[in-house]
Symmetry: C2
Subunit: 262 residues, 2 copies
């Protein structure tokens, strides 16, 4: 079922390693793509380190402002994995060993003949009242509390968790888009394109320059939830590109003419 | 000259395309690496879209809190390039066509026989009182106002601008690090490692799991500004790994012994 109200989202990526440059984040771009396909607008991303106060403050700022919050990182077994504690603190509830998570993890380590250490048991901790997010890759679950979805930082696990989360969210009204190739650089089209954007306020028009080593061209992308508004803006852009091309061709012919006379 | 006070930084990446998933950010990880090498602690990153109020709010939150702020994106020639306006608004100063930037850009377009259009002239706009950040790739300068460094979003240009910015900042006290390979997974070492961290509060110890398809191992990284504290924590970790390895070996031998008796 499609929900026609607009859903917004923020992401909070957690981990010192993202801020030291040791690890390059791969989850932000993936989340952005998946949410766009689901009709949910990602509005803001924050990255903070493994510091409880920072995580709590960022989480409280984001969860009160957007429909959904998605976090990555900090739910492993070591001392720097403090996301479950920070999320509990943000919601003002205790962080407890979850019975079902203890059972799932205990069974897995028993199957593997590995000890279910105190450190490994940390991965079963979550804020009281959370629901699980299943982890088909390495068992230790993520969790949902309120509008906050807490997932692992390892990209394969993050992606698997996100797949099951997204399946449970009502799809929003999808943003439609049209992409129009343009043989001119941004400096040639900027003013005209700004006028088209102004005349079509229901749409969002982006321009993405490309340089092939010899000359600039541009990909123009119109986005809108309303198909009629999208089509009107797209036609205005196509007309703009054709007019510019005709002007260039006429200038070129004129120059050639002058050349012959010279 | 090395400044011994600790310098902090935040990054603000600007652009709808980062939030829609159309473009995968490449600047955050690069900035993180460069700042780490310069002894500047990157503490927070935010990504916002091309919306003036969002940019102004994020910038004012970050610039009052950290020693430096670095932005990427939104300084091109099209209508969605609004970073110069937003930064001006955040600082409460007018956004003007800078004379020197107009000259640099005007000369470049004249050399290329290209028209210096109104759209291209937008790239010369910056908050009154800004200093240039040179752009050796495509001429249009970035700018510095207060503690805020405004750079392009295109990674080649961002990187070139950052190189010249970093050269002007006083180097902070470098964070030293030692990396210790560990043949055990996080679940095996988590509790012991937490105790080592507690005993060495001047250091920051991170653990980075690796799975080779058969078994988990871990890379343990200690970071500290003080070399003596670093060495003490590193030795405690090496001792921890050796003790665990000896215990495993002794358990293995015992199991083999039991096997022979059975």
């Amino acid at each position: 079922m499609t929900d026609t109200t607009i859903k917004t989202a923020a992401m909070l990526a957690i981990g010192d390693e993202l801020l030291s440059g040791r690890t390059k984040d791969k989850n932000i771009g993936h989340l952005a793509e998946v949410l766009t396909l689901s009709g949910i607008d990602l509005k803001e991303v924050r990255i903070v380190g493994d510091e409880e106060d920072e995580i709590v403050a960022a989480l409280n700022a984001l969860r009160t402002r957007y429909t959904y919050v998605f976090t990555s990182g900090g739910i492993g077994p070591t001392h720097d994995d403090i996301t479950a504690d920070a999320v509990s603190k943000a919601f003002g509830v205790p962080c407890l060993h979850d019975g079902e998570a203890m059972r799932l993890l205990g069974e897995m380590y028993a199957r593997r003949n590995m000890e279910f250490t105190e450190a490994r048991q940390r991965m079963a901790r979550m804020p009281e009242g959370s629901r699980h997010i299943p982890n088909p890759v390495s068992v230790a679950p993520g969790f949902v509390i309120g509008n906050v979805h807490v997932m692992a930082g390892v990209p394969q696990v993050f992606q698997a968790m996100l797949d099951s989360v997204v399946a449970t969210l009502p799809a929003g009204a999808r943003v439609l888009s049209r992409s129009i190739p343009c043989p001119f650089g941004e400096g040639d089209i900027g003013t005209l394109l700004g006028a088209v954007q102004k005349a079509h306020p229901q749409t969002s028009i982006g321009s993405y320059p490309h340089f092939d080593g010899k000359r600039f061209s541009t990909e123009l992308v119109v986005r809108a939830r309303d198909g009629v508004a999208l089509e009107a803006a797209a036609q205005a852009i196509v007309a703009m590109v054709e007019t510019l091309a005709a002007e260039r061709e006429s200038a070129r012919t004129r120059d050639l003419g002058t050349g012959e006379l010279a």
